[in-house]
């Protein structure tokens, strides 16, 4: 399976695709609401509402950093998408694509925190620190979850990882890494069970203050992060665009939508996990498990390599 590297102008269609998946995520989310009329159109209504709403400031905000914080997550999602293969193509087959993806998700530490710092509001700042605690919990497991497919494929290039799943999808060999990766996507998107930084007990926390276009961009950023995370999970663990009968792009789209629907659907079904509880579980249970997973993957890779030689 050869990989097509799209030309530079491909950034536009890729950005549009990311937005399309983000909008799909928003539609899935409102469709899953327990009740209410015209739920499928809710995304349109909410967007119109936020476009019509002017900005409102808080006393003595750090306006520049606040804007960077609210717009940042969408930018991060777009930058991640650069190395995520879709079908047989990719925008950049950077030879350290996995490291790039990881570096982008680390940017979220600063960006989400700025989103909470900017408005000069108590609840927003408490939310921001909750996010940092949460990030301390998910980041190491996420790094090891990204390491596992890289070890198995003996490459940090995401297209190589997809090619290495020619015989068997990595989810079979590394179910723990798959789950940890998806959990981390939910966590860095501040979504569902991992939405403690924007939770009800803080009246919205990090997202209590932005209005109008700022809120629109911040919310779109969350959906875009989920969408790109789902696409990356497909490339890393679900064989990318491989599948019978249909073209590769169709398989990529189908698998991405499936994962995205699962990520979106989890939101209302479980309680929010407090950052401190999450920290305990992440360091005492998840981290040892994912290390064990990487060990197993490394042993299998070494056995395969010596078998070939």
């Amino acid at each position: 399976m050869s990989v097509t590297v799209w030309p530079v102008w491909g950034v536009l269609p890729v950005a549009l695709a990311v937005l399309a998946f983000a909008v799909t995520a928003a539609i899935l989310d409102s469709a899953a609401a327990p009740s209410g009329s015209r739920r499928l159109a809710a995304t349109v209504f909410e967007t119109a509402r936020l476009l019509r709403q002017p900005r409102r400031s808080t006393p003595a905000p750090d306006a520049l950093l606040w804007r960077i914080g609210t717009a940042g997550p969408l930018m991060v999602a777009l930058l991640m998408a650069v190395v995520v293969p879709f079908g047989n193509g990719v925008l950049s087959n950077l030879n350290v694509g996995i490291v790039w993806f990881n570096a982008m998700d680390v940017l979220l530490w600063a960006l989400w925190w700025l989103a909470g710092w900017g408005p000069n509001s108590m609840v927003a700042l408490v939310g921001a620190y909750r996010f940092l605690a949460q990030a301390l919990a998910y980041e190491l497991p996420l790094m090891f979850a990204l390491t596992a497919p890289a070890v198995a494929a003996a490459s940090l290039d995401v297209t190589d990882v997809v090619a290495a799943q020619h015989h068997q999808w990595f989810i079979v060999q590394m179910p723990v890494a798959t789950l940890v990766f998806l959990g981390s996507v939910v966590a860095y998107s501040v979504w569902g069970p991992m939405s403690h930084p924007v939770a009800a007990d803080l009246a919205g926390g990090m997202l209590a203050e932005p209005t109008g276009i700022d809120r629109l961009v911040a919310l779109a950023g969350r959906y875009a992060l989920l969408a790109v995370g789902a696409a990356m999970a497909v490339a890393l663990f679900l064989g990318g665009g491989s599948g019978p009968w249909f073209p590769a792009w169709a398989w990529s789209a189908f698998k991405t939508l499936l994962i995205l629907a699962i990520l979106v659907g989890v939101r209302r079904r479980v309680p929010v996990i407090r950052a401190e509880k999450f920290m305990t579980v992440a360091w005492t249970v998840v981290l040892p498990l994912i290390l064990l997973q990487v060990l197993v993957v490394a042993i299998l890779a070494a056995r395969d390599a010596s078998g070939v030689m």
Partner: protein, 354 residues
């Protein structure tokens, strides 16, 4: 023009509603919640995200001040409505929605943006700044003083700096006075608890004597009262589907006194909550009163064959429970020890300092 009109209509078809309900007007609150569930309108937690301010019943005193502040902080286009009884709530809210679609953009007077007018800000009878919804966003060193002295003038936006005090490990840390309430998600509206925060840990807490009504609404509907409290606790837990289920069961009990209808749903909810590891992890051992922790109380509320009211006898149990807790645990603890502001016995809550 046509485009603008369409946009306005779309924008108003899912209004975001901020509810300020006076104690004693539970039926109005429930009617508004039901309307929101039916039409897809969204009940929100913060003025930044609100289009419509709904005032339920006779909003007075601290609540009235909070409502004015919330109204001022809503970005607009906005509308407000006063609902004094549960009659015709749906018609009136539908009308408000049309009013919202026609509302014009106002020029916002955020005086702090221009750097001028700090006096105007500080003179909002002590509500410096914004966000009464959240635990009130308060960077000022003193809360609720009628006038700010001159030294405050040099501080950003007229807000004071926090003072410092020993924390539980005897380290000097910023101590920030802050108020929980009077308007919060999953909260007995009208209740105000003044706290001192170091980081996000509560060092001391005291309830402010607040408005109280005398209504026997919940005394007449004990089962509905329990599911209402459960719904609020589940809201604070962030478990939206379960909170919605509890509200549905509550509404069944309010509409018909026969228990057969919602019993299946109630027992399913009870099973779900009982099985949930996340609920167990977060509520077990929290706010133990008379040998029962928050999870025990939640599960008891979700049992249908019980005629007991869910309310704690006074706010003091809650105040004692939240000393030294971090904010989110404190919110859960308080939601698990709800007080009934509506019955006359609650008219004076005593303070409690740790």
């Amino acid at each position: 023009m046509g485009m603008k009109r369409t946009l306005a209509n779309w924008a108003a078809s899912r209004p975001h509603i901020l509810m300020v309900d006076a104690p004693g007007f539970t039926d109005v609150r429930i009617a508004v919640e039901q309307w929101c569930l039916r039409t897809g309108a969204v009940l929100v937690w913060t003025p930044a995200d609100a289009d419509v301010l709904v005032l339920g019943g006779s909003v007075e005193g601290v609540l009235a001040a909070a409502a004015e502040e919330l109204w001022r902080e809503m970005p607009g286009p906005r509308a407000r409505i006063q609902l004094d009884s549960a009659d015709k709530v749906a018609e009136r809210l539908d009308a408000t929605r049309r009013e919202l679609a026609a509302a014009k953009l106002e020029i916002r007077g955020d005086e702090w943006v221009s750097g001028a007018g700090h006096n105007a800000l500080a003179s909002h009878d002590g509500h410096d700044g914004h966000d009464m919804t959240g635990p009130k966003a308060e960077h000022s060193g003193h809360d609720m003083h009628a006038g700010h002295d001159m030294s405050a003038m040099s501080m950003p936006a007229g807000l004071d700096m926090a003072e410092r005090a020993d924390d539980r490990d005897r380290l000097k840390l910023d101590a920030v006075p802050f108020s929980l309430g009077p308007v919060l998600p999953g909260w007995s509206t009208g209740l105000v608890i003044d706290i001192v925060l170091q980081g996000d840990v509560i060092q001391s807490a005291a309830a402010r004597p607040g408005a109280a009504a005398s209504s026997d609404f919940w005394a007449l509907h004990p089962t509905a009262a329990r599911f209402d409290c459960a719904s609020r606790l589940l809201t604070v837990l962030g478990w939206q589907n379960a909170a919605a289920s509890a509200a549905v069961v509550r509404d069944h009990h309010l509409e018909t006194s026969e228990v057969a209808g919602p019993i299946e749903r109630a027992s399913r909810l009870h099973r779900q909550v009982e099985r949930s590891r996340l609920v167990r992890a977060q509520l077990t051992g929290l706010a133990v009163v008379d040998g029962a922790d928050a999870r025990d109380r939640l599960l008891r509320w979700l049992t249908s064959d019980d005629d007991q009211l869910p309310f704690a006898s006074s706010i003091n149990a809650g105040l004692a429970a939240i000393q030294g807790l971090e904010l989110s645990s404190a919110r859960l603890a308080l939601a698990s020890l709800p007080v009934d502001l509506e019955s006359a016995t609650m008219s004076h809550h005593a303070g409690h300092h740790g």
